[in-house]
Symmetry: D2
Subunit: 273 residues, 4 copies
């Protein structure tokens, strides 16, 4: 779940919605896994240029500290993630979002055959970046590939090249459909979201309709007047059932959310030369 | 889940069955809660007269240490429990089974209005036992009431009086149906199980059919030849789908499992005089 | 450690000082225990009237989340505590500071013979407050006794009566010196500190010299210009070695820190009538 | 701490000695770090050919589960380790002992400049072994280098080559004294211990005097009659003060402990050709 908009109390984002992310951790409706109890993380921009990350290996629904700090944190840009491990250990360093400098990254999905592909992915990571890798997941490896390919300069291109590298690697190792992913990444100003899978059948990703348009549809809905006009949510599952509020990000595409300028574009991997 | 029979590797009990307790922690089918991710515990009799208890606040499905020790522990009597908190904190001292001396106790269900009834229940606990209470749950309070009423001498009578006390307390405090419970308790030789609720609609409890009878029904099933003839399981949910293998403990009754002598009797609370 | 003054980043309070509380958790110099690795807690006033509490059972020096949120939280009043258990379980509900409504409470020291005294202390707690007790420590029991005796109306009187009750209880149970304590408590505006023990030999407690006076002593010390003139620290151990900066709270006394009006007064228990 | 000898209750090894490993976790006397509160681990041989490992990120002195299982486990060969992190995260996958197949490995010390050397060490690991690496420590990397060089065939040679590789790598990267280590490793039959550092000034390592000899020295000491004659301890710090009981493993040497045949030999790194 990602939020971009006017500074808002994290509690409003994490605990208030009818079908909040915390609720999803216990009862996901659209996810591949119905329980996401293998740790969670929240990253947000607040004081200073470096985003803060709060991560835990306890189930999100149980974390009393999360409830406490969510009532104290105001932020214009927040990423939150609940994890269902696909095999790598449940440990803080494997929880999303991952951080590098002022950037955050989170990933739903998996790299198939990661055990076999991992070494080559690691070798491809810029040696200057390599020591910054903290955990052991496919998701962080993908992040560092994207960083290697210039994520901080041109995110869509860097992700396209990272995905292309993994596609090619999968082909070499006989892994038929190596990539399944929705990704959100941010530098604190802009938020990029990606939806792609090798097989062309990617888990869901939605973005919220503009607040002004929603206010016209639901003039009586108070919560819409509490949210600023720049508000945008990007989520794996709608946070509440509200007709017209959620739009699917199309297969094989990426989107950019930024104050006053959102866009959606097709995404295709760039294979290594 | 409770096991009584020939000494067996804990792994066989906890991880082997198709619908094992560990699996139930993630996907319960019959429980009120579909996820039991708020800690778990295992108690067993092995070296020495005092049973060991291993408890954790992590979800059982994630606990690597549990897998490790389950491969090293042989026991003729094991109790295991996965918890879905009904409000009290997720902490080791609130995980079942609870232990007092050579006794173990675990409880599925809840005492309604426990916040209001707790103080009077605590006052009723024998002052000599009071300092042994470690946690804050209704389940442990019920255990100590039963101990106060002579659990170690006559378990069915002590539980009947403990339940009667809570029924009467509920009536006094205007709590209509205060008790919902399945309970298993043991001294290492015998295993008692109870099924009772104020409303007469108690969560499920099953005991397994005798192994010799099952072998006749399923001569080809290898697992039945690995289990001793004294084997008895008491469970909230069947561990595998096998027609004729599981028998419901009737409403308002208690059962006793012991080498060579099992019985089921009606249970009714004994109200305070 | 308690801070009262201009709103400041929690990081400045928790991690910056040469001999910070986090450092003390690993290497205490004055405490009875040299390692305080049995959990910790931070409580602070920020958004809304209810203070936030962040607590963990991990050693404070290892908590990466604490470092993250300390960089995001600004507060005019913060209490922080590192714990060395005196026997009660290491669990979140036993970590200080404890909270009731808008009040925070933390305690260094112990109630001797608590196992024996606990039941009577619990009985003395106002039945309306009793359900709010979450943990099992002597420190929280003392807090609820003080609440029972009117902490929110007249803290010094309430603490004097709570201590008097325990002194009398100790005498009745043959516990010679039942109380050893330094306590800090706050409602978000004022901060009260207590230093008392039955034996008249209490662990250390210090308060910091006024900033203006310190600036005259150390005009070159930059950190003194970053702190507001209302700054006051109350600590078990000096946060840095600086001659003239730390003043011992005398034996058997209490102090009040509040914007523009600090005082220190003698403390003596008020025994039950 | 490593034990080899007659099967014994783990509790006797972990909790009984005056200055046990658990006690050392809180108050080390000889270690570089006085507190080893950043996780711990125990590995032992028992049921089946694969050793069990129990690891936790909580301080060892607080782990109630460890006390429980230590009373239930009998083993002829046990390795235990308390950790003071040198920078890598405190997470289960970074706790010693590490396991590969039937082998255990633990390491006290550090590889200097590991952030810079890590990538080259990882590249050197046999690609077939690479996917088995679970954590992010220098100690596990050294283990996998030794496995790459034939640890399971000829431990002293494999460790000599692993150390030689790191020495050479340090020289290339301008790290003057890259290795500081005491290592214990076992296949369940034999126990090898190594003491070596680039600077020739290695942290302490001791082995215990033969039980029969000790019995002659201390005929009145009962504990010596409970231990079998094949008993051998290898420890960083003596487990109790007993003159003549502990012998320092010399600088730059390795030792082998095995039923009826112990030896100590000089150790020197084998540099890459």
């Amino acid at each position: 779940m990602a939020y971009s908009g006017d500074p808002i109390l994290a509690e409003e984002l994490l605990f208030r919605p009818a079908h909040s992310l915390i609720d999803q951790s216990l009862h996901s409706r659209l996810g591949v896994e119905t329980t996401n109890g293998d740790g969670f993380g929240v990253g947000w921009y607040g004081e200073g240029p470096v985003p803060a990350v709060y991560k835990s290996i306890d189930p999100a629904w149980n974390d009393r500290n999360l409830r406490e700090i969510a009532r104290q944190i105001r932020t214009p840009l927040l990423l939150a993630h609940v994890r269902a491990s696909t095999g790598t250990p449940v440990q803080r360093s494997n929880c999303h979002p991952f951080r590098y400098g002022g950037w955050l990254w989170m990933h739903n999905g998996a790299i198939a055959g990661f055990r076999d592909l991992k070494r080559d992915m690691m070798l491809e990571v810029d040696p200057a970046l390599y020591p910054e890798i903290e955990g052991s997941t496919d998701s962080e490896a993908l992040f560092f590939l994207a960083l290697t390919y210039g994520l901080t300069e041109d995110p869509p291109d860097a992700v396209a090249r990272a995905v292309g590298f993994v596609e090619e690697l999968g082909r070499r190792h006989g892994v038929p459909d190596p990539i399944q992913m929705t990704v959100a990444t941010s530098d604190g100003e802009s938020l990029w979201a990606f939806r792609y899978s090798s097989e062309g059948h990617t888990r869901t990703l939605f973005y919220s309709t503009g607040i002004e348009q929603l206010r016209m549809l639901y003039p009586e809905l108070e919560v819409l007047h509490e949210l600023g006009t720049d508000t945008r949510f990007v989520v794996s599952e709608p946070l509440r059932d509200l007709k017209g509020a959620w739009n699917e990000v199309p297969e094989s595409s990426w989107g950019l959310v930024r104050r006053g300028a959102d866009e959606i574009r097709p995404f295709s991997p760039v294979w290594p030369a």
